[in-house]
Amino acid sequence: MTTTATNATAPPSSPSRPDPARPDRPRREPRRIAFGHRLSRWDLKLSPYLYVSPFFILFIVVGLFPIAYTAVISFMDWDLVRNSGEFIGFEQYVYVLTQPKFWIALRNTFSIFLLSSVPQLILAIFIAAMLDQNIRAKTFWRMGVLLPYVMAPVAVALIFSNMFGDKYGLVNTTLADLGIPPIMWHSDAFASHVAIATMVNFRWTGYNTLILLAAMQAIPRDYYEAAAIDGASKLRQFFAITVPSLRPTLIFVIITSTIGGLQIFDEPRMYDQYGTGGADSQWLTITLYLYDIGWGQWNFGRAAALAWILFLIILAIGIINLLVTQRVVRDEGARGSLGRREQRAAARAARRDLRRATSSGTLADAPAPTTDTPEAAR
């Protein structure tokens, strides 16, 4: 009511004029606008939380709650029929850790992981260096390299377990043609790890290649030009400029492939038709063992304990992961993830150049491309 009264006396075009009846207070704005303002203030304040909430709500329901619940179940003797459990302390952990199968599975997992990630990374760096040249039909080659990534691991496993067949497999037939005795890909533990690692390498090398390529493209070209002027060969340039600049990206790729590698399931599960990891657990992995305990023996308590053991193993590596990702997240406001990687790579190279320049006494203009501004990294 007062609002309409003041509206009549004061023209709406001067909203800041004080109310003549109460000169100590600023004049109230017309109600409709005030409400709109408040609404938009609330809109501004609340909407960010609304936007991020779907992720967090779903994560709490299907992520956080199950993790906590796994811990609870792992201390229980879970009864499937009653769908509840009886508290028995650390017994399940003790049981799992005293199983020889667990240690075999752990060994297999690490063996397969090493056999897959080391050659894969070396190969990926090499292919990325090839793609980083001034080649024709860039898109075509990039797509070609990524092609295996679209094939399901199950499909890859079926194809490769056929190729690595003990009797009629392509690999052994080829070996026989070369006069080499056949390798027992399915009965020898190490051979089976090689075969499974080959599947992983087939599917993931191209993916990692493209990640490394993106980082390579961010290395300022004038470093190479300067090196070429100094008379460095292509090979020398590769080891002195490319590889050191890739370090942050390499750390990232190593950590993600570690986490993925420790969880490997699809390939060993499909390596033969029984899916039990071989007659003598030659290629039994931890996740395969977890599946067997949980859904083969229907012992959820033990499966949960094993899941937590696996998690603790991964956590050791995950902590490193967190440190790295925190560094990625911290310097906000600059550019994308690749951009940041680019920047760090460029900054590192620039620092090295600076060091080299100062140590050799000729402080040339080497530190010119220091990347305080994101533009310099492009």
Binding site: L44, S47, P48, Y49, Y51, V52, P54, L58, F59, V62, G63, I67, Y69, I73, M130, Q133, N134, I135, T139, M143, G144, L146, L147, V150, M151, A152, P153, V154, A155, L158, I159, F160, N162, M163, L170, T173, Q217, R221, D222, E225, A226, Q263, M270, Y291, G294, W295, F300, A307, L310, F311, L315, N321, T325, V329, A334, R335, D365, A368, P369, R378
Partner: protein, 303 residues
Amino acid sequence: MSVLNPAPLAVVEEGIPNASTRRRRPRRVQGSRPGWFVYTSLVIVLGAAIFPFYWSFLIGSGDASTIRDPNMSWLPGGNFLENAASVINDPAVNFWRALWNSVYSSALIAASVVFFSTLAGWAFAKLRFRGSKWLLVFVVATMAVPTQLGVVPLYILFSDLGWTGNIGAIIIPALTSAFGVFWMTQYLQQAVPDELIEAARVDGASSFRTFLTVGLPAARPAAAMLGLFTFVSAWNNFFWPFIVLDRNDPTLPVALSLLQSNYFVDYSIVLAGVLLSTIPLLILFVFAGKQLVSGIMAGAVKG
């Protein structure tokens, strides 16, 4: 990202004294086309990438004896359609059902992940709110949590709800993704200038309206890539569907796994099934793979 093209010459001029006299040499380094070594390596790599596809066609188009033939021909036989038909008609595999489940669940997951990730990424990248930094760190940290850790209780949860065997059990946990949120945050941070948001706000657009008119269009290249990657990984996912889905109502990877236990002797049928299940993704890749690369390029060029 497209560092190759415009920048280097300009940088050379700043970086090296007497740029005019020295310019010729770097330019030659820059412009030189690589030699046979590079192309030979790439052809070998491409060959290794394609060979397993060809191999599965080779075996899949033969019959049960092909694999045992020591003088096997490197040309495909004529039995592919027959083998494919026996995969499709196998009552134990339920191929059409599996195909439909895969298409439907992957599409739904991809659409949902793209939308919610863009929304959350927009908030993290462009809106100021209390605790945003820590929430983002939290999002990133969740990426390190292995899927296995939640599998047992999730299974118990879904069987309590009576959803085991239901395709919903694989869709619901996948509706959002930490990677997606992080990815869109990173992209939107550099893709949208703050002035554009201020302009929209001055024009009286609500927060959500601003998102729709400014954020979504700018996010398109990154969203396309995220959608593609999510679709591929949802399509290929095996561990959780294998646990929770009913054998009569599988997705394609689960159906493939049944194929092997079913026909473990006859690899020609197994590999025909492998190829059959991969064809939809190959088609998608042929069309969208290009867009993926051009999306990366477009995202890097302009703000």
